[in-house]
Structure formats: C-alpha cells, structure tokens
Symmetry: C2
Subunit: 287 residues, 2 copies
C-alpha cells in the first residue's frame, strides 16, 4: 500500500538499508531514494536493491521527498537533518534512526525555524545487530521489534502520525515518548548491555578465549559492534549511560558480596529475581 | 566404535542426557545406564533414548560399569563420586561434569583410598545452555566445544587417557590442566559472564523490559539459567569468582569514567580493544 510518495534515506547502512528493503517489500512508497557519502556504498546498495535510486548529492536526493529518514551514525545526524530541512519541499517530514534522542532533538530544535522543527520527528528503531553495512541489511529487521518515536512541545501532530505509521507499517511496536524519557529507557535496556558486554570482552585475558563457550559468546556478542558508532552513542547520552551504570553496579555489587561472603540464600535470591525478570522479555520470547 | 564397555551416567539432565545421546549416536559403548533420583526423570530419559537402561538404585547402576560419569549439580557431585567408588568393580574409571573443580577434586581425594582416588578424573565439558532437563539434551552438544579434564599428582595416567578419549570421541576440544588453573580459567570465561548477565537482568527495572531488543536479550540469555545450579557453582568457586569480578570491574570502571568524562579517544580505545578480543573467539565463529 503506497502510503508515502517519495522516501529518501540518508545513510544506507545496516539500518538505512533495512528500512529501504522493508519499504520496498511492503510497497509503502512510490520511490525510495538513497543519499550516500561514497560511491562504493551507493553501488552496493543498488546491488542489494535497498533503494531505487542513489545519489551522492543530498540536495538533489531530498528535493522531491515527502519523507526523509536520516540513518547515519549519531554524531552526524543533527547536521544532516538541518541540511535536509534546508532543501526539502514544503510539508515534507524528516525523521532519523539515531540511538540517542535528547541531544539530537535539542540540536535540531535549536537551529531550525518554527515550522521546520515541527516537521522533524525523532525515531529510534530498536533493531540491528553487531553487523554493519547494507550487505547485512534485511527487510524483516523491524518485524516485532520495539521502536520509540519522540514528541516535544514543538512537534507537529500530523508529522508525528506519519512517522508512527511508517514504523508500524514496517512491523515495529511503536511507543511515543519525550526525548529525556527515551534516553533513560535506552540507557538501561540498550546502552548498558553494550557497556557491560564491551567491559566483559575487554576484561578477560586473551589466553582464556579458547575456552569460551556459548555463555561467553552470547553475553559478549554486542561487543563485536562498531566501536565508533557506540562511542558516539555513549557520549551523546553520557549522563543517562552513567546513571544506568549505577543501577548495574548496585545489583552486581550485592551479588559479588553475597558470593564472597558465602551467603547462599542471598545469592539464590538475587539470581532468581534476575532470572524471573529476564523471562519477561517480549521480543524473541523463544530464545 | 565401542571403546568403552558399559557406561553409567548418574544424573541425566541436559548434560548427562546429552552425554548419553552422544555416546549412543557414536556407538562408543556397549550399554549406557542411567541412574536417577526420580522415576519421572527416568521415564523421560528413556522416552528421549538418552540411556538404554534406567535405575533409581545407584549401587545397581554402577556395579558393572567400566566408566561412571556424574552429571548432577555441583554440590552433590563429591558425595555421589564417593558413593559410586564404593560400588564399582575394580579398575572402573569415574569422572564428572561439574563446572568447578578444585572443591570437587579435593573433597574426593580427601575421602577416597589411594587406588580409588587415582581412578577419579575431573571433567568439565563447557557446553550447555540456559535450558535444563533431558528434554533439552542433544547428541551434538559437545561438538567443537571446549572440555577441560583435570589432573593432579594422584591421577592415574591410563584413567586420565580414558576420560580424555571419551570427550574427544564426543567431539570436544580437550585441554588437561590442574584444578586450580581450571577454576581460574572458567571463573573468567564462564562464571563471570553469568554473574554479569544475572546482574544486568536484575538491575534493569521491569517497566523497561518491553523495549528490550536483541542486544539486551543476548547479553542476558544466560540469566535464564537455573538459579540453584549457578548459586552452587559460584559458591564452590568463590575466591576465583570474586577475583574474576575484580578484572571486570577494572575494565568497566575505566569505560564508565571515560564516558562520564566525555573522553572520546579513551572510550574508543577501550571499545576497540574489547571488539578485537571478542573477534578471537574460536567456538561458533559465525555468530
């Protein structure tokens, strides 16, 4: 169903490419245009059929778009949104796919005019993997995954609705919240697991790695993620990332102290509480 | 190839059941006997064909065995090894599948006579999952997985060789080391990931769980493991578990401090170091 006219994706990697594939698979747009920084990536995206048309020229790429999605690394997102806003036609909606929101949204709202900022709506599709690049993209990436869409006092209602309907059409479970609430939530449910996984992989001496089994492998999987992408994410959500760390340290500290003290009852209580909570995850219930 | 005559497995859950299935699949023994505590488990194991014969009577179960494998929760292993040693025929070899070794081996060596203790060889097949029970067992569980076999000054060489050849025949990559070295290695590569995963699942408020995506799910997968089993493991390897925790805290503390201080170069360095190390895992290279 063609709910959207032309959709332009700026940055066609794992996330941008999966958005393109998902839109095309579901025939949600008349045309999907990709804006690239490098010719090699443009060629790859066309080979993968993630977009219909590719260009290296942002101005040209967004000119006729009804909806623009910025899916580049976090640190470049505000700049690209502002640049896109300068060149889109009247009424076009702009969204992004960045993992932090307060910083992006405030940067954008600081620098765009009233009607322009109203037509920007922040998004965070919580899907992906430790893989990168359009060659790892898939049209089902957002199926059943959570997606947070942000709303501020300045957000235009019909633009918000368009963005929400896009993610729903891509199969995501959408929740609308304000940027600070988003940043707190994802610091706990997404940034913290990454911090912990990177720390675990970093802490274990290399000579022990031959003995790694499934447990170590799964617990550290996201530590194979792109370091620059995640440095960006942590650093644009510093306060909440550190706060989430405090919550982790509290539980971890109690567990280590109970083990050190040989307190079986306390150890059991902490493990069982964690186990029950872990059983409540909705997404991918089977594993 | 029938390298072993009769093999008796005491405790036929996920690990014991997988050992039985793997032995039968590879035709390594003339007969596989299971010793059970409960009739319901016995019936399940026979339905799954994890053993040829089941009994609730340990004495009867081990009497004719050439090799006995104790695959119960850690805290019960020394007692069952000692009981089995009392009833096996002369020359029979006994091993176990417990996740800690110093405590088990020292308990056993303290209480058995010279030739008996020589014929006990500690094992730790590093395979499994957060699942439990014979119904989750599989004959390929040990394929390509690490397995540590322990050796002390008292270990009989031919018994050690028999145990090593069993795990190799089941597809495992076997390393022989002394119990303290084993306990240090697994504290880092296995116990620590569990401590961290349980702490992460425990720390995140339940109201954030609907937003959990793949990252949270994988990083906490092992927190769905049986709490009693893991309380036993941590508490029988307390000193090393706490030491492994210190290593984690060191890396984690540096990462959090670098994020808090907005030190991009330091954050990047820590993430990249962790990422490269994680890429060196041998087992299950593909994910």
């Amino acid at each position: 169903m063609r709910r959207f006219g032309k959709i332009t994706i700026i940055g066609v990697g794992l996330i941008g490419g999966s958005i393109g594939l998902a839109i095309k698979k579901r025939k949600l747009a008349a045309k999907v245009i990709g804006v690239f920084r490098r010719k090699t990536t443009l060629k790859k995206a066309l080979t993968c059929r993630a977009v219909d048309i590719g260009t290296l020229d942002l101005k040209e790429g967004v000119r006729d778009a009804d909806l623009v999605i910025v899916a580049t690394p976090v640190s470049s997102i505000p700049r690209l949104i502002i640049e896109a806003a300068r060149h889109v036609k009247k009424g076009a909606v702009i969204t992004d796919a960045g993992s932090t929101k307060s910083w992006i949204v405030s940067e954008v709202e600081k620098r765009l005019g009233g009607s322009e900022k109203a037509r920007f709506v922040g998004s965070h599709p919580m899907a992906g993997s430790e893989q990168t690049g359009v060659e790892s993209a898939g049209g089902d990436l957002f199926d059943g995954s959570p997606c947070i869409v942000t709303k501020t006092a300045k957000t235009d209602r019909s633009s918000l609705e368009k963005v929400v309907s896009l993610w729903k059409a891509l199969g995501a479970r959408v929740t609308v919240m304000d940027p600070p609430t988003h940043d707190r939530t994802v610091s706990l449910i997404s940034h913290l697991p990454h911090i912990v996984a990177f720390s675990l992989a970093g802490a274990v001496p290399a000579k022990e790695l031959p003995y790694a089994a499934e447990g170590f492998r799964d617990t550290t999987r996201v530590a194979s993620s792109d370091a620059k992408l995640w440095a960006d994410i942590f650093l644009t959500n510093r306060k909440e990332a550190v706060n989430a760390g405090r919550a982790f340290e509290g539980y971890y500290g109690k567990l280590i102290a109970a083990i050190a003290g040989g307190k079986r009852k306390e150890v059991l209580k902490l493990l069982e509480e964690a186990r029950l909570k872990r059983g409540k995850i909705i997404y991918g219930r089977d594993t």
